[in-house]
């Protein structure tokens, strides 16, 4: 059966992990923000910012890792903006987040157009190449699936471990988990609610921007309008799917990547008879189904969406 062949081929899993990489960045970023009690719907726009600024830095002449740092930094700036609007000012996190998405997207496009007024086809950069790990890359199946990825994919996987470690094994992570559940608990222990929340949103936004940067610096080698294409929104859903846990976030992202890689291959197998849009729908439909199953029991951070004002009871 050809479906089984698809699922057992190394190239399929390589593609799944490649597709999952930007989602891993994004879902980790969203997870950090929400663990601290702030929903960051600016994610879609911050993806665009990361994609554009990272690519642009390299195009101007910076090396690739500097580009990654630039993307993260620009993401953090928009995170700071969202943080200030929603934490000390206590504005609606939904409204501010959607505003950030519109604003960040528009600013990115504007900057791109201003810098490159006359190009018809997007200029290319020398993107990250798959990392050839001696020995491991030659393993059967696992070699091509796991060890022919670009360095940014390894960064994403390392970040899963790091975020998990920080959240569950350090005093900082303890404070972040506490501030997302009951900010008054944090304040009563002499810590700064605003500092923790804004900091978390900035770091989370930096990770989101890395997701965007992966697309222009690793998956592709150029910046296109509309290339983010809802990946940010998928991350918001994946956080719920993951019950705000980094390990499950990785699982969710890879699962989505697998759905997507599968639909591409399925199109080739049985294409023609069924319109291609039906296949494009598959990962989204399956995501919704997975969410319905998992998220009904979701244990939201209790203080998510709730602004905290000092002294208010």
């Amino acid at each position: 059966m050809e479906y089984v062949d698809i699922l057992t081929s190394a190239s399929f899993w390589a593609a799944a992990i490649r597709i999952a990489t930007p989602l891993i960045f994004g879902v980790l970023g969203a997870l950090i923000c929400e663990r601290a009690g702030v929903l960051n719907l600016g994610i879609e726009g911050i993806f665009v910012v990361g994609a554009m600024t990272g690519w642009m830095a390299v195009w101007i002449g910076a090396d690739l890792w500097t580009g990654v740092a630039v993307a993260a930094g620009c993401g953090a700036v928009f995170g700071l903006l969202h943080g200030i609007l929603t934490v000390p000012l206590g504005l609606s996190q939904h409204v501010s987040g959607l505003g950030i998405t519109l604003f960040a997207t528009a600013v990115s496009y504007f900057t791109y157009r201003t810098a490159l007024p006359n190009v018809s086809s997007p200029p290319r950069i020398e993107a990250f190449q798959p990392l050839d790990v001696p020995g491991l890359s030659d393993l059967p199946f696992i070699g091509p699936a796991l060890f022919q990825q670009t360095p940014m994919t390894f960064l994403a996987l390392a970040l899963v471990l790091m975020v998990g470690f920080v959240l569950y094994r350090t005093p900082l992570g303890l404070a972040i988990r506490a501030v997302g559940d009951n900010p008054a608990a944090v304040e009563a222990q002499g810590l700064s609610v605003y500092g923790l929340r804004i900091g978390a949103v900035m770091v989370g936004s930096a990770l989101m921007a890395l997701g965007g940067a992966f697309l222009t610096m690793s998956a592709f080698d150029a910046f296109f309008f509309g290339m983010i294409n809802g990946r940010g929104w998928i991350c918001i859903a994946l956080v719920v799917f993951a019950s705000w846990r980094p390990g499950k976030a990785l699982l969710g992202a890879v699962l989505f990547g697998a759905f997507d890689a599968f639909q591409i291959r399925l199109q080739n197998e049985v294409g023609g008879a069924i319109p291609s849009q039906v296949f494009l729908m598959i990962p989204y439909v399956l995501s919704i189904v997975a969410l319905v199953i998992v998220a009904r029991k979701a244990d939201y951070p209790r203080a998510l969406l709730q602004p905290y004002f000092r002294g208010q009871r």
Binding site: T170, A188, Q189
Partner: protein, 520 residues
């Protein structure tokens, strides 16, 4: 300063001095020129009605608010008296002030241990080590008698256990001044007793303790000194030994208070019957509950919140259905529909009056007629009759003494007592057959409480049957003709109040058999 040091060497033992604290919120003066001292080993009760400024004062002490005038002086760990940095909880913590807030400040997704160590180590430290904290806490639990499982998520802890975590949190930071804001509000009588035993133990170890309360009994029973706060001012600062109940009540309210006296009722026929009712799930499940309520009688349902009262309220309010058994009102089954319950004459005074009792963003007038809005008196051809609604509101505001800017004021801006008056006016003026009153005086001050009690007795004397769900034993014994105890979904048979004593009911509320009756 209002308080005179009575013992020699008191100066050395002085731990804390509030000096002429004044705090304004807009036009409202929450604290006016308040001075208070606390010494090592002393238990001070801060007594006052709701809105007297007790919590505000303690929040200034802890740095949640900044006082407009005045200063807080604390004996620092080095032994010198120093002015406390205002508006900085971390400074208060460093100075050895520990606070147990009325609404616990615990992160429920963390364990007790994690809540306790939160903020005690540098955020930038790598892994935390738990063994040292554990050892210290073990010792603290032994010396203070506060036992609690520290590795369980706080969300799984009962209220009393959460409070113990809160106190341990302060002790873990070596607090020498412990402030407890209405610590017994959520506890059973037995838990309260053990809390005060702990407090005494801590005071004996040299801590200075301030507890906030509006219950005279515990103030008289457990403090060395009482400071009475009224309208933001300290009106008395006395040795507890020279105080009595009446004197404190009068000081607190500012005039003499009359408590409502229940007269023997004149009960009629049973009209509300619950037979073997099972409903709900989890902690709030009801397990084969039977009850029959007569007209013209008040049955008090004693019990700690979370033992099935919520389910019972929902059933009788028409918001939930039984899984088995039956509920009948005047022989007819009570439908699981709120509108039908109202039509059959069920007056509902809900436990969470801010959330379930009113629609906060609507006006006082709208809230007063909201249950009767379909009646022709208030609408014609589907359009509201604002004239009639306004007249109704003005009459109710006058009759029930609802303090508000006017009928058009938004209900949420009113104080708790006045919101409760809206609920009373709305429900009792419909001359209900059944009054379901859940914690009707919780959080209300002495005056408002007396008002609620009087209204409930009036309703009874008009022939209504009243189900009074309460945790407050004084209230239950004051109003009820018969009392039943609910615990873990089981309801005991109602017993005439005269045949009961408070400590027995308190034990039953905690799930213990009060006396006799050996296991068969």
């Amino acid at each position: 300063m209002a308080h005179e040091n009575q013992e020699s060497g008191a100066e050395r033992d002085l731990l804390l001095a509030l000096d002429s604290i004044t705090k304004r919120f807009g036009d409202l003066i929450a604290n006016k020129d308040v001075s208070l001292e606390l010494h090592s080993g002393e238990i001070v009760a801060l007594l006052g009605e709701n809105g007297a400024g007790k919590t505000t004062l303690m929040n200034i002490l802890f740095g949640h608010y900044v006082a407009d005038e005045g200063a807080v002086t604390v004996r620092s760990r080095s032994g010198a008296l120093e002015v406390l940095e205002p508006g900085a909880p971390h400074a208060a913590l460093d100075a050895g002030i520990g606070m147990v807030h009325q609404h616990f400040t615990l992160a429920e997704n963390l364990s007790g241990l994690e809540n306790i160590v939160l903020g005690t180590e540098s955020l930038w430290a790598g892994r935390f080590s738990r063994s040292k904290a554990r050892a210290k806490l073990k010792k603290l639990m032994e010396t203070s008698g506060l036992e609690v499982d520290l590795d369980v998520r706080v969300s799984r802890l009962a209220v009393g256990e959460r409070q113990r975590v809160e106190i341990l949190k302060a002790l873990y930071r070596d607090a020498r001044i412990l402030v407890l804001d209405e610590p017994t509000a959520v506890l059973t009588p037995q838990e309260s007793e053990s809390l005060f035993a702990t407090i005494k133990k801590l005071a004996a170890q040299g801590l200075g303790i301030i507890f906030i309360s509006h219950k005279m009994v515990e103030v008289l029973g457990h403090s060395d000194r009482v400071a009475v706060l009224r309208s933001g001012e300290i009106v008395a600062d006395l040795e507890t030994s020279i105080c009595n109940r009446q004197m404190l009540a009068d000081l607190m309210v500012g005039h003499s208070v009359e408590t409502v006296q229940r007269t023997p009722g004149n009960p009629g026929k049973p009209f509300l019957r619950l037979q073997e009712v099972c409903a709900g799930e989890g902690r709030e499940a009801l397990d084969h509950v039977s009850l029959s309520l007569r007209r013209g009688e008040i049955i008090g349902l004693a019990g700690v919140s979370g033992n099935g009262q919520a389910t019972l309220q929902k059933l009788i309010s028409g918001l939930q259905t039984v899984t088995s058994g039956s509920i009948t009102l005047e022989g007819k089954p009570l439908p699981a529909k709120a509108s039908a319950a109202i039509k059959q004459g069920v007056a509902r005074i809900p436990e969470d009056r801010h959330h379930d009792g009113i629609v906060g963003s609507l006006s006082v007038a709208s809230n007063l007629v909201i249950e009767e809005i379909r009646r022709p008196a208030y609408q014609r051809f589907g359009l509201l009759r604002y004239g009639a609604i306004k007249r109704r509101a003005e009459a109710a505001i006058k009759a029930y003494d609802i303090r508000c800017p006017g009928p058009r004021a938004r209900a949420r801006l009113l104080s708790g007592g006045n919101i409760q008056k809206i609920v009373l006016a709305r429900t009792l003026d419909q001359h209900p057959a059944l009054v379901l009153a859940a914690q009707p005086s919780r959080g209300l001050d002495v005056g408002a409480t007396a008002d609620v009690h009087r209204r409930l007795l009036e309703a009874r004397d008009r022939g209504a049957g009243v189900l009074l769900i309460s945790e407050d034993l004084d209230e239950l014994f004051q109003l009820s003709d018969r009392i039943a105890v609910i615990h873990r979904g089981h309801l005991s048979a109602p017993v005439p109040t005269e045949a009961l004593d408070k400590s027995a009911v308190g034990l039953m509320m905690a799930g213990l058999e009060p006396k006799k009756e050996e296991a068969a």
